[in-house]
Amino acid sequence: MRHEDEAGDSFASNRSVNIVVALVLIAVGGLVIVDSLRLGIGWAPDGPRPGYFPFYTGLLIVLSSLCTIILTLMGRMGSNEPFVRREQFHNVMKVFVPMAIYVGLIGLIGIYVASALYIAVFMHWLGRFRWHLTILVSLAVPFALFVIFELWFLLPLPKGPVEDLLGY
């Protein structure tokens, strides 16, 4: 966070994110090891126990991530450059937050209505399109998807109250 004060346009250096991600991976590797130990990493009468193979994958995740951390601390890996500049981060968040909301909405109101809303918001808010084009595209795309998946390939997708009303 020191870097933020100096440059004022970034959150963290590439190097510190490198270490954080390696630590997360070590935690994941640790989980794998713990569960493998629970399952048994040894030998049963009929062959290796279920934890036999995953144990080593977990171990290698931990070891390689330790390597990454050591190399980073030694200055052999990663750079002092910002991991992401502030305006880049804003750009990414502008896409990511609506995307996360969209994913949440799919379960509630069905994929077609959620897609229409998502496309409309994206186009109007980020693309600054006029309303008529926004409405046209955000209705046409879900309709096309409906025709392709539901009618043509007969793959049922998640639907919500609006589709119920329409009789689907």
Partner: protein, 503 residues
């Protein structure tokens, strides 16, 4: 010559007009996928895979592999016109392709790219035609130890060939294996790493990982630089094509070198991306005009494109014969094979010759059709690229969500796609390679059961992996690849030490 007669039988399968239609659809979709950011060969095929469940496996693989060829062709269009590589393997194409477009020679660059892609692919397909039956008949004698050794070689090659740091390659690969182990243990049926979470019972599907890592991750990465991108206009007319074709034979050595590098990197899963860089580097070193590379040399377009296509095509050779995909897209196709109920590997050549040879024949025809399609439709796809990204991006996200859902009809999978998307974004930025993760996720169960069976045969002794010449030399080669980064840095140090001593 048995290969030739099988190939002719394969072409007769293509005689079915429906298959030709699927081929055309596949190529067009593939170019579109290759051109659009966020939709690449691997996740494009992953999204469309569920649509093919109702088709015959042969038609399905023809269509999906044609999407792959189309995506390989399409990647060059964005690289040259927009300086944005549509696919990782076309990064090297931007070095000279975009400068050419800036000089108003986009048509030439595109023609050279497509033609050399075609040459690379053709070279690789001929290799596949004659090598595949040989390797398959050899592999028939493989036991679990040999199979695991080949898989080990595949994964060790990643460490040796990858441009990313070895510690990160290993971490990403092992993460893939760990994710593959989640769910029911295929041998004993016990639950692994579900931590009491019922939804994890079925494990992580690799298609979900592919759609997230390559699709959503790529969109987030693209969005960093905002929504705007400007492209050069492309005019391709028959005159430009013929003029460029007249220039190309000069570069035969570069093209041949690229094709050989590509084939090698495709079979040992180094993949198309490192192959394209390696070929570009070699061309730069050996060409008389090497100094001008990067300022718009046609040869600088020929080199990476031949290699990328040769690698992409030959990646199917180990997939068909050994069940080991040489690239992420080949991994997705392999997953498709499993879903269609086909066991990849040498038995496929005996049980389903129609499938194998239909596919190989479609590789010939698909690339010829692909070349014609891209040469004639470049203006169309360049126009699609002018549709603002704020329309394309949400549509791609919606398509990714639908693709994720249709894999197993699970809503939770869409959330996983989002998580994999963030992971893909962070991993890309920190130089963690994604291909080993996907390959490990696809091959995890298979590699593990081969390893366990080998262990059972030897009563738990690792010595089975050097018990005979074949398995021993494969394992030895694997170890060589694994420690190659250490060896090569050691050699460089040694050499620089010597040269300093000489001074």
């Amino acid at each position: 010559m048995e290969a030739l007669s099988s190939l002719i039988a394969g072409f007769s399968i293509l005689g079915d007009p429906a298959n030709i239609l699927y081929m055309l659809i596949g190529i067009m979709l593939g170019v579109l996928i290759g051109v659009l950011p966020g939709l690449g060969g691997a996740n494009g095929v992953a999204i469309l895979l569920p649509l093919t469940f109702s088709m015959s496996p042969t038609s399905a693989i023809i269509m999906l592999s044609c999407i792959y060829w189309g995506a390989l062709f399409g990647g060059a269009i964005t690289s040259i016109l927009f300086n944005i590589p549509g696919e990782p393997w076309s990064v090297a194409t931007t070095f000279d392709g975009y400068p050419l477009a800036q000089q108003g020679r986009a048509g030439e660059a595109l023609t050279a790219a497509f033609t050399s892609s075609f040459f690379g692919a053709l070279f690789a397909v001929i290799g596949v035609t004659f090598l595949a039956p040989l390797i398959a008949s050899m592999a028939l004698a493989f036991g679990p130890a040999e199979l695991f050794a080949v898989q080990l070689l595949a994964f060790c090659s990643f460490v040796g060939m990858s441009r990313e740091p070895p510690s990160k390659t290993i971490a990403s690969m092992m993460l893939g294996f760990a994710l593959a182990a989640v769910g029911q243990d295929p041998t004993t049926g016990q639950l692994r790493m579900t931590f009491g979470w019922y939804e994890l019972l079925r494990g992580f599907n690799f298609l979900i990982a592919v759609i997230g890592l390559f699709g959503i991750g790529e969109i987030l990465l693209t969005m960093e630089e905002g929504l705007a991108f400007r492209g050069r206009s492309a005019k391709i007319n028959p005159r430009v094509v013929l003029q460029t074709w007249a220039k190309l034979p000069k570069f035969w050595a570069t093209a041949l070198r690229g094709a050989i590098v590509g084939c090698w990197m495709g079979i040992t899963p180094g993949g198309a991306t490192p192959a394209s860089f390696m070929s570009y580097g070699l061309a730069k070193r050996f060409s008389k005009r090497g100094k001008h590379f990067g300022q718009g040399e046609l040869e600088g377009v020929v080199a990476p494109e031949t290699a990328a296509h040769a690698a992409g095509t030959s990646a199917l050779l180990p997939m068909l014969t050994l069940g080991i995909p040489g690239s992420p897209t080949a991994a997705v196709l392999l997953g498709g094979l499993l879903i269609w109920g086909l066991e990849p590997g040498p038995m496929l050549f005996i049980d389903r010759p129609d499938f194998v040879w239909g596919l190989i024949a479609s590789m010939y025809l698909g690339n010829v059709v692909g070349l014609i399609v891209v040469l004639t439709t470049v203006p169309l796809f360049a126009a699609i690229l002018r549709i603002p990204f704020s329309i394309i991006a949400p549509v791609i996200v919606a398509v990714c969500a639908i693709g994720a859902f249709t894999v197993r009809n699970a809503l939770l999978d869409i959330t996983f796609v989002l998580i994999f998307g963030v992971m893909g974004y962070v991993f890309k930025k920190l130089q963690y390679p994604l291909a080993p993760l996907v390959l490990a996720l696809v091959l995890g169960d298979m590699a593990e059961s081969n390893f366990r069976n080998a262990m059972v045969l030897s009563d738990g002794s690792l010595s089975i992996f050097w018990s005979n010449g074949l398995v021993g030399s494969i394992c030895g080669l694997a170890m060589f690849m694994l420690f190659w980064p250490l060896l090569s840095s050691g050699l460089t140090k040694l050499r620089s030490g010597q040269s300093q001593a000489a001074e």
